[in-house]
Assembly symmetry: C2
């Protein structure tokens, strides 16, 4: 068995994969593949409705929000959020916690004034900025809840007086949080939700309609709210697998159960790193990500040997992002504790041999 | 065996579905699913390269064009084409052949002046307009090569003096054509290419860079040309299945072989309709689509009985689009001649019983 530590697209539950594989041949005993059925067919409309209902149930989304499944990943939301919420002469604040925030800022600046409200760039994004003041004129503050590349995560979300937008691509469904703190939440599916090709977007309905620009139909959140995410042909299969994944999460015990396991998994691996003289985690303890564990060698020349030992234990995808180096173990919802134990054991063993 | 006459998402070859199903469990003997691997992994980069190479080979695309696989369907290209090619003070021509053209015109008008150059609205879109003059000031002329709802198709493409954009969502890969007549060709995958969630876009490289507006990175063709369709996480699985489908088409004998079979299939079913006193095709003979066969009852009250007989012969998806009524049989590339024969037999038998 392979232990899949890829940062994304990332591990999905075996049960989900088995069902997805079956549906690619024979979906709902229809004699047809999920890949070749109409998105207007009763069977698929049920999938879409179920996926939306499961999101609402798992995150306890209130009625004043709408859950959407939109084509594309978070990169499409970088501009869609600003396009839908920010007039040209208005400003919004962005908390800069690394690569993804930087991209979001760049795209938002095409539509209004995106200001960097706070940044952890001074220490190579190794912490989450806190204690900053938020301009009351901001139309919104944008944050990135978890940062896959630098291994940081908001332990809690700020209390502010302007609307907040959260890019939760890499930690949605991993823990409980109050969605009412946010006006828009978005997440590319390919971490805790499903395969690449679809994004979950949760929009507070009453925030729309106040920007003056004309927005192409496909880029207007209102279009998709009005048409229940089926204005055009949606990405059928990515939505189906996301639905399976949400079912799996519900069966697992929902957010409280998965949050507890995520905590245990993170503790296991951070302990192995902290106990080792050969590795260190560059992230402030209170901001360590429970999804992406970034760790660095403390001396030179161990890179290859460690990766080789990890690989021989069937641990794959643990090389660090090219902009950071070192190692990264992504331990999303679908990763079993057993796989994390295997990697922790590799770290322990490697440290005993080479330490 | 079900005979899948859905208009889209639509039938895919059984071989493609079997391989897709296998890869959802174990891709390339990696021990991992195609749904959970990195888009930067060697295995997937090869898929993307192969998909692009197969498009170039099958359509004999020349080097001055770039083949892209972009997130979303044709609805996203309706605005992206205009956004990338039309300045606000410039005009483009659109040939209006029904619902899809109308949507393309609406979105283009947000970016420049989209003029209706010719239209077949006068006869409920039952023919393809010809013999119109094209304003030499147009930055481009946009046509929809095949019209799924009204069952019309360009038998040949116009010779004009301005660049041409072709929405070929529903007939690309179905027949030979000279891509050099077009500056942009786009096609949502979910007819002749793959499952929903990705579009094929073929762009003449030297036409870009002349519009003045700032374009979000994700919506700029140049971004995706520079990054080989991997600027962000692409829709991995829809691209993989598209690649399988292109392999299948190559094995089938490529465009000449499939075009011949498409001709045979279309002849079979149009003959059954023409021979029947109970049905008629509302489309001008020379403009009949070889992909979507639209036919109407010639007298009232046969709707249910015909659909029931078709269903009992395992023919599904033949109800006409709600805006047109009647019946529609979509007979895309992956549909075997045998399935078309089954439906032709149903038409013949029904006509004998009720005619």
């Amino acid at each position: 068995m392979k232990h899949n530590f890829y940062a994304g697209p990332a591990i999905l539950s075996k049960k989900v994969l088995t069902k997805a594989s079956e549906a690619a041949i024979n979906f709902n005993n229809s004699g047809l593949s999920i890949l070749e059925i109409s998105h207007r067919s009763k069977d698929f409309v049920e999938v879409m409705e179920k996926a939306e209902a499961l999101v609402c149930e798992l995150l306890q989304i209130s009625d004043d929000y709408k859950v959407l499944f939109l084509t594309g990943g978070a990169s499409s939301q970088f501009y869609m959020t600003a396009m839908n919420l920010l007039n040209e002469n208005e400003k919004a604040g962005y908390v800069d916690t690394g690569a993804w925030s930087t991209k979001a800022i760049k795209e938002a600046n095409l539509f209004g004034k995106a200001e960097v409200t706070a940044s952890s760039k001074d220490k190579n994004y190794s912490y989450i900025p806190k204690d900053y003041s938020v301009d009351p004129d901001y139309k919104y503050l944008h944050i990135t809840s978890n940062n896959t590349i630098f291994g940081t995560q908001y332990a809690s979300f700020p209390d502010i007086d302007v609307p907040m937008i959260g890019d939760m691509s890499s930690d949605i469904f991993s823990r409980s949080f109050d969605h009412r703190k946010f006006d828009v939440i978005y997440a590319g599916a390919q971490k805790n939700l499903g395969p690449a090709g679809v994004s979950l977007v949760i929009v507070k309905k009453n925030i729309l309609g106040r920007v003056q620009r004309e927005i192409p139909s496909m880029l207007n959140y209102q279009t998709h709210i009005d048409k229940n995410s089926s204005f055009n042909t949606p990405p059928v299969f990515p939505i189906y697998v996301s639905m399976l994944s949400l079912e799996w999460l519900k069966d697992f015990g929902g957010i409280p159960a998965i949050a507890q396991r995520n905590e245990e998994k993170a503790n296991l691996i951070y302990k192995a790193i902290d106990d080792s003289p050969l590795f260190e985690c560059p992230v402030s303890k209170e901001d360590r990500s429970k999804m992406n564990v970034v760790f660095m060698p403390t001396k030179e020349g161990i890179d290859d040997a460690f990766l080789k030992m990890a690989e021989s234990a069937n641990c794959i995808g643990i090389i660090g992002h090219r902009s950071v180096g070192g190692y990264r173990a992504s331990i999303y919802n679908a990763m079993p504790t057993e796989s994390v134990k295997v990697l922790a054991d590799v770290i322990n063993e490697f440290s005993q041999i080479h330490g």
